[in-house]
Symmetry: C2
Subunit: 145 residues, 2 copies
DNA sequence: TACAAATATTTAGTATGACAAATATATTTA
DNA sequence: TAAATATATTTGTCATACTAAATATTTGTA
């Protein structure tokens, strides 16, 4: 394989990830969702599994703990989530959605799914499979941890 | 196509783009490059085409103008680039690398190429072609501009 | 049990990304 | 030519990412 050929994939990857986020964010804003795409990602995980510690929530959202702390702070201010101290381990906090938070996720989910689908116009199921397989391979190639 | 199936591509895309950046950044840091991955992207473009206005540089780097202004500020502080007022249009600035900047790009380029290659272990040239084609299609699907 | 090490969370600092507004200069138009 | 409009850049604000360090609590060990 020639080096030059692979020199720019990181640029295309970065630009496309940015575009996907921008597109979703501008749709959110236009429709008056009043949350960011990252806040949505956290809400969605919390909706699917209540009673998560912040550490576990961060892991599932693919965010580091300081970033998650700040996103959760914002969700609290917006009245969408709550922090509860874990009495069995007072270092930990459990998070759950408020009723308002649950309603928000339930009502926005189908609209978000539609927004997300737009990326796949003109592409096939085979493309989708290849795409996720390649992304996962790249991720694992670099995930030395 | 079923919605649920496509629900999580944006997550994988985002995580992989992040991982690619993290891997490069930690390699840069480990090797003592003393620049960020985004600063590198700007230096590389400037090296390939000197005498760019900031607006054009921003376009080629895929960054917005405020972000580019700030990255260029840092490159100036590090003595890697210079701003020159365009006397034919005093709103514009031309940018070019200092000798130190040119030397830096020339010496780091092959090492960066190697770092970038690691992502492609276990993948084929066909994968690479599919990957870039799919990314470009997604980008264009969302690029309403 | 007391002390050291580990863990969960938060705080702080720097870089980047997005968007709006401010500034300076050019261009267009009445 | 003066005023309106357009353009290039910068500044400001908020959100996110990463790192390191601080804090509180728990666990392991002598």
């Amino acid at each position: 394989m020639l080096n030059e050929k692979f020199d720019r994939y990181s640029f295309i990857l970065d630009q496309t990830a940015k575009k996907v986020k921008q597109f979703a964010q501008s749709s959110f804003t236009e429709k008056g969702f009043d949350i960011t795409v990252d806040q949505w990602a956290v809400l969605k995980v919390l909706y699917e599994t209540e009673q998560l510690s912040q550490k576990e929530l961060a892991r599932r959202c693919g965010k580091d703990q300081p970033t998650l702390t700040r996103i959760v702070d914002i969700l609290l201010k917006k009245g969408l989530a709550e922090r509860v101290i874990d009495e069995t381990d007072r270092r930990s906090l459990y998070l759950h959605l408020t009723e308002e938070g649950k309603l928000k996720v339930a009502s926005l989910s189908p609209i978000v799914a539609e927004i997300r689908m737009k990326a796949w116009e003109k592409l096939t199921e085979k493309d989708f499979e290849d795409f996720t397989r390649i992304l996962n391979t790249i991720y694992n190639n670099l995930n030395i941890s």
